[in-house]
Amino acid sequence: MEWLKSRPIFWQNGLIESIGIPRIIIAGFLVFLFVLAVVLKMDLTFLISDSLVRIGMNGLLVLAMVPTITCGAGLNFALPVGILCGLVGGVVSMSLNLRGWVGFGTAALLGIVLAWILGYVYALLLDKVQGQEMMVGTYVGFSMVAGMCIFWLAAPIKNPAMVFAIGGQGLRYTLTLENYYCKLLNHFLEIKLWGITIPTGLLMFFGLGCALMHFFLKTRVGRAMAAAGSNPLFAKSSGVNLNAMRHLGVVISTVLGAIGILAYAQSYGFLQLYTAPLYMAFPAVASILIGGASLQKASISQVVIGTILFQTLLTIALPVTQTVLSGADVSEIARMIISNGMILYALTRGERRR
């Protein structure tokens, strides 16, 4: 017990606990990498620009975890459902040959409508498996991706830029958005500062999503959703409809998945079909957990911090380690270790709390 008494005052007040040990370690590691990058005389401005882009690209997908956590359904491992809706929107808008803002807008609108419907259906399914949402979600996501592979092959789309060159039937694995809305958000109000490129539009899009979510959580229905998720009996006794709140949370998350993937795709430059969405949920899950969220509670600041830490780590760690290890490609391995490790850590921690 002695060591407890001798803790410094900032520790006793819970400052470190509130920031969280994992975040301190990761932030420390990031600082270390930055220093290393400087020592190795790497192009810092490039690394930072790249990080900013990746933060903006992935942000909304991470944000999609907030509504399901809040409404008590845990992490949304069925994020691919929303992602697929967004991709369908993108494909349709492309086949209609819509370009620029119109193309992006149509894709998003279609994606939202589809995600709203499918999200609701998925939410109804979850009613039957309460308490196992995350496991069921993983499988629903996987099966949806598999099922959609058939759709991509059979889709009645004739645009030659989109279908396989040979045979003329079936969509290609990746559809290039060049000439459509490639980097539309990234270039919107783009700023160049000391050699750093700031993708203002993309970051604003992410920021707008966060702001709306922040507002939503403080509205009457947002509060009801949080109460239903964290203390169902309390919510019920206040006249909150528990099922409706869970449905709403799942629907919003799915919609965010749809918009999120379009923001991601326009920056990446391609719509990735077939098995690409399979593992999309995992980096998003890892990010929000790194940000300090638990299976029961998540906040917007945790989304932002988590996305920044996770994406910066990925962008910076790879080139630096590559330089140090002279060329070995450890990027994919590092990503897997970090994201899966983080998920595992959070899941074990979450179980113990119950």
Partner: protein
């Protein structure tokens, strides 16, 4: 008593986030001693016991200073498991039962009786099969010890709070190496006769050589069983006395640091039965609340009255409010001001102008991880659209923190909620102050009818006076109709206009508050049927 102390606490000091809640507490108990610990809400009683029991809240908030000695040996108690090893048992203020398991399993939790089987012979003791029969028998005998006849195979989820209390107690007394037993307000939800059983069980325990620490807000209980008494005020030990030096009024004075005056409420003119102004008519109400079933309940509630519902635990007194407010499945018809109120729909019940203080404050009454202001305003915000910024769609209107805070501040002042401010997390409040938040939540609805189940549970004598006064004022000045369920008959008799006594889910009779103790007693025991008159010879 020249025996040496089995448990000694020396100079216990504890602070939570910079606020000192215990200052150098010294405490000694000998084997066979029942030691009463009393003090106002927030005085630090539960905190002291949590320290003794090695609860994790203590260590997560920076530990404590001071020393604990068992048999004169300094010990480190860093977890409840360690405390149990040392022979310390505790019945907590808030229940700690696993809802998914049966009563017997809860009683034997972590001390399961096992028999060896093929696998366990290879893999070791943790793989042994549970001996359910032996476990049931043990649980049964522990329950019998408390003279409680409830089926030990029932699941704990949904049990009425009064029963959960006995299950908790049974779990503790089933432990074999027990040396020190802590009761943190075990009697708060029990009626006098049930509390009597509990006190009896405590006496038997102490005769077996166990030292008992007993926290309660009912001073007469302390006077009845305790051998010695410690009084805490604002985290300090202000007095320790032997039973024979103690007097109730003196104790109360020590507790609050000033003279306690019992305010006398003006008696209301007796309502004229003829001109009955009925606000709520309940017809044929049946409620399926496990352990508190209500059968075919009929009642006409008069506008502006304070109606009490009393009865023993398990006889349905709690079921009525829970059924009408839609929290448990109910059948029957309810008319408010002549309009039907749909059952099984909490929102409709709330919209029709009723509100409820739940007897289960931890699960139903409070959102533990939220602030006081959020807890107080949540229901009114959801149902009545109060505390929202203006805007087109009510659902998407944003909460108005300023209004919430302002309102919370008045409530904190009116009900004397001891806290650091409206933003304090409810979990960090003492039990009695949490109860006041529950009450504030219901009052914020400004209901026509307030269903208050055990509204003064765990509230100290000073605050209880204040709250009862407040309820009476709501009724007399605000015209609120109040239905108060309480296990404390004295409290009902103090403020109610009529008192309904329940027996086996039915109304056993309705009595005026000044009816004799005997009449109340017989009704509770089901020996008095309304309309049939008293049958003294019918008494067993």
């Amino acid at each position: 008593m020249s025996e040496s102390a089995v448990l000694e606490l020396i100079g216990i000091t504890k602070d939570y986030y910079g606020v000192t809640v215990l200052k150098g507490i010294d405490l000694k108990v000998k084997p066979r001693e029942i030691h009463g610990i009393i003090g106002e809400n927030g005085a630090g009683k539960s905190t002291l016991m949590n320290i003794l029991f090695g609860m994790s809240v203590i260590h997560e908030t920076g530990g404590f200073q001071g020393e604990i000695r068992i048999d004169g040996e300094p010990v480190v108690i860093d977890s409840p498991a360690r405390a149990m090893e040392l022979g310390i048992g505790m019945v907590h203020q808030e229940f700690m039962l696993l809802p998914g398991f049966s009563i017997a399993e809860n009683i034997k939790l972590n001390r399961e009786i096992t028999c060896s089987n093929v696998i366990s012979r290879v893999m070791g003791k943790s793989m042994e099969t549970l001996d359910f029969k032996a476990m049931r028998q043990d649980a049964r005998s522990a329950l019998d010890h408390l003279s409680i006849n409830i089926d030990e195979t029932l699941p704990v989820a949904g049990l009425p709070v009064g029963y959960m209390q006995f299950v908790e107690i049974a779990r503790e007394i089933d432990k074999k190496n027990l040396r020190v037993m802590v009761f943190d307000e075990p009697s708060a939800v029990l009626t006098e006769s049930e509390a009597g059983l509990l006190l009896e069980a405590m006496r038997r325990l102490s005769e077996k050589g166990i030292a008992i620490l007993f926290i309660t807000h009912r001073l007469d209980e302390v006077m009845a069983v305790a051998h010695s008494i410690s009084i805490l005020r604002d985290g300090q030990l202000v007095a320790r006395m032997e039973r024979d030096q103690a007097r109730i009024d003196k104790i109360a004075e020590w507790m609050v640091g000033r003279k306690v005056e019992r305010s006398v409420l003006a008696k209301r003119p007796v309502a004229e039965d003829e001109a009955e102004d009925v606000i709520l008519e309940i017809h044929d109400l049946s409620v399926e609340m496990p352990g508190e079933v209500v059968h075919r309940f009929d009642l006409k509630l008069r506008r502006g009255e304070i109606l009490g519902i009393g009865g023993l635990a398990g006889h349905g007194k709690i079921g009525v409010a829970n059924g009408i407010m839609g929290l448990y499945p109910a059948r029957g018809s309810v008319f408010k001001d002549g309009l039907p109120v749909s059952l099984n729909n909490p929102r409709q019940a709330l919209l029709s102008g009723m509100a409820m203080v739940s007897e289960d404050r931890r699960r139903v009454g409070l959102w533990m991880d939220e602030s006081i202001e959020m807890n107080i305003s949540f229901t009114a915000m959801q149902v009545q659209g109060k505390f929202l910024w203006p805007g087109p769609l009510e659902r998407l209107r944003r909460e108005d923190r300023t209004a919430m805070r302002e309102h919370a501040l008045t409530m904190i002042k009116d009900l004397d909620i001891r806290c650091t401010g409206p933003q304090q997390i409810v979990r960090h409040l003492s039990g009695g102050n949490q109860q006041k938040v529950c009450l504030a939540r219901a009052l914020t609805m400004k209901p026509d009818i307030l269903w208050a189940s055990e509204p003064t549970r765990g509230i100290d004598i000073g605050a209880k006076q204040l709250i009862l006064d407040y309820l009476v004022r709501c009724s007399r000045e605000g015209g609120m109709t109040i239905v108060m369920t309480s296990s404390e008959l004295g409290e009902l008799r103090r403020i109610c206009d009529r008192i309904v006594i329940m027996y086996e889910g039915r109304i056993s009779g309705i009595l005026p508050p000044d009816a004799s103790d005997m009449e109340f007693g017989m009704m509770m025991a089901g020996k008095y049927q309304s309309g049939k008159g008293v049958g003294i010879d019918g008494m067993a």
